[in-house]
Symmetry: C2
Subunit: 354 residues, 2 copies
């Protein structure tokens, strides 16, 4: 164990991630507050028939190869209560950076007038009303930073009671998380589990991100010791059930010390594809193309003849304009917030009447 004072532990455990938020070479076009991407989808009639229920899926995009994005958000634990998410227990704490990303907004910015939280809850409200007379479920997924946001939003939905229908039914809320870091303290774990949220955490045991933050005080420390550490701001805990994969079990992958490979989402999906239970042989089963693993990393053995990091746009998206000059294309006109966001937030008591 590190013998330095606790205050100096944090920088060490994230020191494997280089700093990404350096000054951009290009003019700033996005707000700091909109540094997340996600969507809310709902199953169509055919999928609903297959599933046996109408599933609402919330997907949070994660970091692709820039592990540093996520490390920069891991700073210290902060009580949820008083931070725009209602929570009856002031000892329930989550990582400040994730909470901030989830709840922050900027009234003056067209694209972040509503926080991530408000956008998701408003759309969820709309969908649960639309399909109120059907059987429904809420599934939330994300990779890396997206995993943290998935866990946080699942908690929020359950804590806010948004999954409880007018007739008293509680919709099942599940999280399928990939290579996620710890999100909160052990009180957070107890709280989210007591609210009935089911979390399956798919991890690669070689990946450093799920080991962060909380390298020293986490759910693996014996409970009495953890009890003592509970008040400390660096005593983190994973939630839910872990599905532990190991990239050393795939004969398709080469040995590498690159942490971006071990953390790669496509690698996780490949490992899932070949996984048939602990101790069982690795056999690909779904026809998923192993070449996808190398889309954004250099992980496949060379004899598969798949180039590393092969996913790229032609000419980085540069195009020739009418005058024959090579330029970056105009940014597509993006939708900002749906017009009914405020309406649904008001119903949730999250917005004023005007």
């Amino acid at each position: 164990m590190d013998t330095r004072s606790p205050g100096t532990c944090m920088p060490r455990q994230i020191s494997t991630f280089p700093n990404f938020f350096k000054k951009s070479r290009w003019p700033k076009v996005w707000s700091n507050k909109a540094n997340w991407i996600g969507y809310v989808a709902v199953s169509d009639d055919e999928t609903t028939r297959c599933l046996g229920r109408r599933d609402i899926t919330i997907a949070w995009r994660g970091t692709v190869t820039h592990l540093e994005w996520i490390s920069d958000l891991m700073d210290f634990l902060k009580p949820i209560n008083g931070n725009k998410i209602p929570c009856p227990d002031p000892t329930v704490k989550v990582e400040y950076g994730f909470l901030d990303l989830y709840t922050d907004k900027d009234e003056n910015c067209r694209f972040c007038k509503y926080s991530a939280r408000e956008q998701v809850l408003s759309e969820l409200k709309r969908l649960t009303e639309t399909y109120a007379d059907e059987e429904m479920s809420i599934s939330i997924t994300g990779h890396s930073l997206g995993s943290a946001l998935a866990t946080l939003s699942a908690y929020d939905i359950a804590e806010t009671g948004l999954h409880v229908m007018q007739d008293g039914r509680a919709l099942p809320v599940s999280v399928f998380s990939f290579s996620g870091p710890r999100v909160g303290n052990s009180r957070f774990k107890e709280r989210i589990e007591s609210l009935g949220v089911k979390v399956l955490r798919v991890v690669n045991v070689q990946d450093v991100v799920p080991k962060s933050p909380g390298l020293f005080f986490n759910e693996q420390v014996p409970p009495p010791l953890m009890k003592l550490a509970e008040g400390l701001p660096w005593a983190y805990s994973h939630v839910g059930v872990e599905l532990a994969l190991d990239h050393r079990n795939s004969p398709f992958l080469k040995q590498t010390s690159d942490p971006a490979c071990a953390h790669n989402l496509e690698a996780h999906l490949h490992l899932l594809d070949g996984y048939h239970g602990k101790g069982h042989r690795f056999i690909l089963s779904s026809g998923r193309d192993p070449a996808l693993v190398n889309k954004a990393c250099d992980f496949l053995k060379d004899h598969h003849l798949v180039p590393p990091n092969w996913r790229q746009d032609e000419n980085k998206g540069m195009i020739r304009n009418n005058e024959g000059r090579w330029v970056q294309p105009e940014r597509p006109k993006l939708d900002d917030h749906p017009l009914d966001t405020h309406h649904h937030l008001r119903k949730l008591g999250l917005a004023s009447e005007h």
Copy 2:
């Protein structure tokens, strides 16, 4: 001046170039002997009318960013004579690596049954016969390694007398070379110039390649001293007339210590575009797009908003096959040698009757 023994000079002057010919990760598909690319073209009727003559252009492709390709070919000077190019003077010497690349062949390889030299001379023979009754010129160009091959092939054409028509006319032979290294010794320079070959060497004075090989003994050493050094294998000389550009004169370019930027062909073309004579202001004149400079380097100032190294294929050329798998496409069926190569070489006395 370096005080070490002459024998140790060579490694030092090429030490800025990392070694490129390391073991490939992919199976070897090309012969070592075919590590050059070039073409022979002839002006169409319209261009011929504009030029006032039928121009045959020989273009040698160079190295794009891999400076090391060229450094690996710069080894020591070797007499031309006795190396498949006729030369009456045994003291005329050129860089062994260039000579080797130009004359080497492999009877057992479909694509290099004929050497670069044989392919070029044979095609040139065919074209000069086709247009024998027209006014003609021969223009040879190349960048970097291509510049060395351009100079060598121009010399070869003149020495072989291929530019002399049956009626006694000698076609003008010109070289437009870009960022070329030195090719031979001062005897080579005298010989190629006495044969009437005109060479315009376009260089960027910040580029290290034109300073190689021959960092210590070259055409800038006072003639008496050079005379003494003449027999030494590292006494090189540039040929022809130099057009010296300087990338520090372009307001579009940023300061960089990257030797690949200073050596880049697109940067040279940009510098030519803005050049109006020594001491004159840099003003772009042809409408050439400065964005091209960044195709394969990171040289334009950031405010131009052109990403560095933007020239890239979509997904590195990977495609989805009929089964939905991502694969590298089949190599296109390539032509090897034109069927009449042997026929024209025989006319030149460079091939046996059978």
